[in-house]
C-alpha cells in the first residue's frame, strides 16, 4: 500500500539544469492592474549564436594570428566565425590552406586570376601560378573581438 510520504525538500539534491537554455515567454504574471501591452507578443531574447551562425553543422571558430587583415577589422587575437557552407566568391574573406597552414585573406577571383589579398598595405598578395590549386577551407562570416 502506498501511503503519502512526507518529503523534506531541503534534504534533496537540487537538480541542476545543464542543457540548452530554455526560453520562457516573458509574460507579466500580475493580473490585478492594467494588462501589459507586451502580453500579445511571445518574446525570445536575442541569441548571438542564432545571429552569427547560419549553418551550425558547417560553422567553426578560428583564432587570428597576425596583422595583415587589420584594415578589414580583423586583428591579432580575434576570433573569426568560419562557415564552410558559404560559396567562396570574389571579395569574400576566406580561410585558405597554404603550405599546410590556415591563412585568412581576402579572395581575389577575377578574369581567371586568383590571389589572396591582405587588408594592410604593409603586406603582399599571395599569387598563384598556373596549375597551382588554391584550397579554400571556408568563408569568414564575422569577427569577434573581446575587450
Amino acid at each position: 500500500m502506498n501511503l503519502p510520504m512526507l518529503v523534506l525538500k531541503y534534504s534533496q539534491p537540487v537538480p541542476v539544469q545543464v542543457g540548452e537554455p530554455v526560453y520562457i515567454p516573458l509574460y507579466s504574471g500580475v493580473r490585478a492592474g492594467f494588462p501589459s501591452p507586451a502580453d500579445d507578443f511571445l518574446l525570445k531574447r536575442i541569441d548571438l549564436s542564432d545571429e552569427l551562425i547560419k549553418h551550425p553543422e558547417a560553422t567553426f571558430l578560428m583564432r587570428i594570428k597576425g596583422h595583415s587583415m587589420t584594415m578589414a577589422g580583423i586583428d591579432d587575437g580575434d576570433i573569426v566565425v568560419v562557415d564552410k557552407a558559404v560559396k567562396p566568391e570574389h571579395g569574400k574573406i576566406v580561410i585558405a590552406c597554404v603550405d599546410g597552414e590556415f591563412v585568412c585573406k581576402r579572395l581575389y577571383l577575377l578574369d581567371g586570376e586568383t590571389r589572396l589579398q591582405p587588408a594592410n598595405p604593409d603586406y603582399k598578395d599571395i599569387v598563384f601560378k598556373d596549375g597551382q590549386i588554391l584550397e579554400v577551407w571556408g568563408v569568414v562570416t564575422s569577427c569577434i573581438k573581446q575587450f
Partner: protein, 431 residues
Amino acid sequence: MFALIDGNNFYCSCERIFQPRLQKVPLVVLSNNDGCAIARSEEAKALGIKMGQPWFQIKHLEQSAGLVSLSPNFPLYGDMSLRMMRLASELGDKQEIYSIDECFIGLQGISNVTHRASEIRARILQWTGIPTCIGIGHTKTLAKLANHIAKDADRKPGSYPSRLAQVCNLAELNERQRQFLFETTDVGEVWGIGGQISQQLKQARINTVKDFMQCNPATIRKRFSVTLERTWRELHGQSCIALEEIPSPRKEIAHTRTFGQPVRNLAPLIEAVTEFTSRAAEKLRKQQSKASSILVFIHTSKHRSGPQYARSITIPVVRPASDTKSLLNAALRGLKKIYKPGFDLTKAGIVLMDLTNAQTRQAELDFGETESDSNERLMHAIDEINDRFGRGTIMYGSAGVGSEKKVWTMNQQRRTPSYTTTLGEIPTALT
C-alpha cells in the same frame, strides 16, 4: 528502402580537416595509450598496416615511410560525428545512428533517391570536410553491402564498376548487374557474416554472395542459425531488420584500459578499478539500469617478455545495484582475489553484467527509508555535480587523490587539440 551512410576512415578524416598538412600522408590513429592502430588512412593501408596492429610493429614506418601517428581525439570525433549525422538525416524520414561514423536512413516515400544521396554526400563533404560513401538497398543488409561496393569502387579502381563509387544504389540496377555484383563479392563482406561463419561457409564451397543466396534457407537455419537465415532473407530483399531509432539500452557496460606504463602493485590497481567502476556506474544510471554482477580482469601484455598473468573473476552483487558504493565493494573484493604480485600488468577492466531495468525491484519487506533510497539520492547528487563541474569533481577516495600523478592514467602523447569543443584550443589562422 534503406541507405547506409558512413564516413571514410572517419577518425583520420576528422584529423585531416584541421591539419591540412596531413592530406596524402600515411596516417594512423592509435588506441588509448597508443597501443595499436584503430584507424588508418588509405595511404597507411597501402603500407600494409592492419587494423588493430600494435604500434611497436609499425613504428619503424615513421622513419622509412613518413607514417604519422596520432592519439585519439574523441571530443573532436564526437562533434564531427554529430555534424555529419545531422546532415545525413536529411536524406530520408528516419535515422538510426549505428556507430560514431555510420547511420542507417529510412527512405520511405523518398523519390529520386540516388540523386538525392549524391547531393547529401556532397553537402556533408563541403560543410564538414568528411568524405562519405552511401549504399542503398531494399533491406539494411543490402544497404550495407551496397555501401561496401561504393567504398571499394571508390578506393580500389577496378574492383567494381567506377560509376558505383561513392554512391551505390542496388535497387536501381537490373537483375543481370546485381547478379554480377553478388558473384564478384566475397561472402565474408555481408553484414552479419563474421570471420568464423565465413570460414565455415567457405569450407562448404560457399565463397561468394551469390553462392550463399543460392543455398536453401531451411538448410542454413539447420546448419547455422536463425540469424543467418535472416541474413539470407535480407539479401533476397525481404526486410527483416527494422530501423532502431532509439538505441536499446546496453546489455553490458565495460570500462577497460591499457595502462600508460606497466603496474606491479595493488594500490594503483585499486585506483584504476575504482575509477572504471565509478564511470561505468554513471553510465548505468544514465540508462536507468541496475547490474547484478560485475566482472573484473587484469592481465600482462602478450607483446612483452617476462612472466605472463591473466585472471578474471565475476562477483555477484547482493541486490541488483546502480550505486557506485555497492558495485565498488564487489569490484574491489574481486580485484583483491585475483591480484598476485610480481607481474607487469598492462591492462585492467571491469564489465557490469546482467543489467536489468532500474524500476524492477525485488519485493522486500521494508520499513521506512532503506539504505538504497538514500544511496540513490546520493548518486543523483554526485552525477549532477560531476556533470556540472567536470568529471571527477567528486569521487571515491580509493580512486586516488592528491598531486601525485597516477601511474596508470592515459598516455596520449600525440593528441591533437579539441578544435571544436574548447575555445582555448580552436585552430589558428595566420593572416
